[in-house]
Symmetry: C2
Subunit: 448 residues, 2 copies
Amino acid sequence: MQHILIIGAGKSSTALINYLLEHSEKEQWTITIAEKDLALANNKIQGQKNAKAVFFDVFDAELLNELVGASDLVISMLPASLHIHVARKCAELKKHFLTASYTTEEIQALHGQFNNAGKLMIMEMGLDPGIDHMSAMKVLDELKEKGYELTGFETFTGGLVAEESVGDNPWKYKFTWNPRNVVLAGQGTCKFIQEGRFKYIPYHKLFRRTEQIYIPDHGYFEGYANRDSLAYIDVYNLRGIKTLYRGTLRRPGYCAAWDAFIQLGATDDSYEMENVSNMTHRQFINSFLSYNPNDSVELKLAHYLNLDLDSAIMFKLRWLGMFEDEPIDLRTGTPAQILEHILKKKWTLNPEDKDMIVMWHKFNYIAEGQPKQLESSMVAMGDDELNTAMSKTVGLPLAISAKLILQEKIKLTGIHVPIEKEIYEPVLKELTNAGLTFVEREVEPTFY
Amino acid sequence: MQHILIIGAGKSSTALINYLLEHSEKEQWTITIAEKDLALANNKIQGQKNAKAVFFDVFDAELLNELVGASDLVISMLPASLHIHVARKCAELKKHFLTASYTTEEIQALHGQFNNAGKLMIMEMGLDPGIDHMSAMKVLDELKEKGYELTGFETFTGGLVAEESVGDNPWKYKFTWNPRNVVLAGQGTCKFIQEGRFKYIPYHKLFRRTEQIYIPDHGYFEGYANRDSLAYIDVYNLRGIKTLYRGTLRRPGYCAAWDAFIQLGATDDSYEMENVSNMTHRQFINSFLSYNPNDSVELKLAHYLNLDLDSAIMFKLRWLGMFEDEPIDLRTGTPAQILEHILKKKWTLNPEDKDMIVMWHKFNYIAEGQPKQLESSMVAMGDDELNTAMSKTVGLPLAISAKLILQEKIKLTGIHVPIEKEIYEPVLKELTNAGLTFVEREVEPTFY
């Protein structure tokens, strides 16, 4: 019997736990789910005999030692900052370790220890980062093997609500992942490289410099740039590439409307507002507008942001209730915290809502002297409230790679992100079997 | 004989040193000018017999001890962060101490020591902070004494180039003070209170929310808000006031054009740009614009910022040479550092140029049930390259208060900023004699 320790049984662990439970009998695994909320963990196990739930606290050193010691492979779904505690214990006790979070220098420092122990640690093994790395590297390696010259690579991912669950919501968006990250998205300066030129977009222009992206059978999306694309030159070994651009997908119209909040200063997280406990939605918006007792908040905002009163952006703001004299119902908060709180009133998934993940890559390359363009896309749909697209796309890469490691089909040691063929090839194959399929198509290259 | 120690003989010390030298014989003072650059210090003394120059290094504890020990009163023109070293020594050796810099918590902690020693330390005794405090408190105290209710206070100061030295410069602006602070001005969120409502302006909107200000005999100016006006509620003891707004003055048209740099992201100081050593002015601007080999940088910028190609803003940018393929001539830099470097090529004062200081206060109050508005303004002109308006307005408050302390006409002890009548009344009187005069006028109150 091999033993798997899963730390954390939250919303995003559903598909991971289900996959491992399903395979546990055939693979002869026992599974321990370590979680602060024992009821939650037991609910995920649903009485399966190879699994048990135990109480967990990452700062209980003795408990951590005991649980990791008893396992062959550990998967952490903890908040990103806590992985390091588990990673050090896995290095010490010589266990494989997997997470879906971005790797850090602190974690990279353990590479030698994992290597010497003959154990593998994979970071960034979820959706984004994770599936994006694997699906991109597959094509990048294929192009390289054919001797083609890669000139550009763009990659976009978005966590959205399924079209069927949009209803009358003009944003066509709800929170399907950490709302705070959605509100703060893009803060700082965005850097990328386009046709060999370094380009910079300040935050207050980011949501007005979107790309229009077409995905067969799903229509148009819009994408805004992620913070630092330049760092990915090294991750994907693309030194010398002329265009590199990473971004986030939304449905058309979202970004221009979201920009209204940015222009107002309503996404600022750097200071606490005054008098929050007495503030209404309308007063929150009015805090960012000039004082004038004779003009309405609507007119002041429309004039400030140069919007027509009957524009789609004004309608989106009205639909959110931003102009209502409804109490915010918070005692303190930064503008970003207050905005998040207001948005949650309308952007929270209903139990019957389904989410959706969209990923899209564009590769430009030169084949036999001719410019070519290949697009690759994946769309994943949630089944229900528990089995969300987010949970599948984050959890299945972890679950599948855990299986492949325990089956000794992946034999790498040390710390890796999934850009190696030994990892991405078998994992992508199994993801396809699970319905997470990339569709590739050659299109006419677009020029500037 | 009383002895005065002046630390620092830079550009802003000219008027301070001249005033003290002029009064040294009558007042029986000897003056030591402590400065790293001995030639500079000797040049300021011009052979006057009561004064001498000595080499100085703030980190030479023995030297500091000796120089402070031999003096009755010390004035520091060092960079703000270094005052604390001198302040501690003055507290220890029981000497009066004056600076023109903002006070800090670290410095405030010495209050008891100065108090027990029976010595006075005045911080914020320059122009802004300094003359602004004194001239505002004079009116605020007068209104209070008359039993009037203050409803609003706005105060703006600007360091500008004199109208006669503007020439063909469409910005009507040159650097007369620290250029870096001008480039970074306004970063962060601006907070103020207007008619009892807290208002917030994000940096990317700040230069588009200016106030138009008229000063008799000098015409119109425009003002943008300083970062945090709310802190001044306590400084001026104005709790309950409905409107409080502090800002910076420029000539009309400056702010909307400066906003173009902000919109581009060219004032960002948070990251180093790539390939700076090969960059031209034009490429610097192009870094913030979309890639398109068929469109000109001018057209891309005009479209991005919604400007007419023949607009005054485009002309201002063209006048600066922003679209020229002239090498920037820096090896590395943040956008803000590069912009500062380019601006210095055109915005540096010529030897014959004169500078100008403009300060303006607006007081709204209720007198006998009637709303009233009082405006108070001061305009100071530089005489020449050495005797700048900046040097006069920063140096004379220090020099005059030094004289009044040594004459025992100011008897306060401990640490103060010049908001007390005992300080501001005699200092303002002498400033008027020196030509730094406030003109007050009652105007029709403006309403929103």
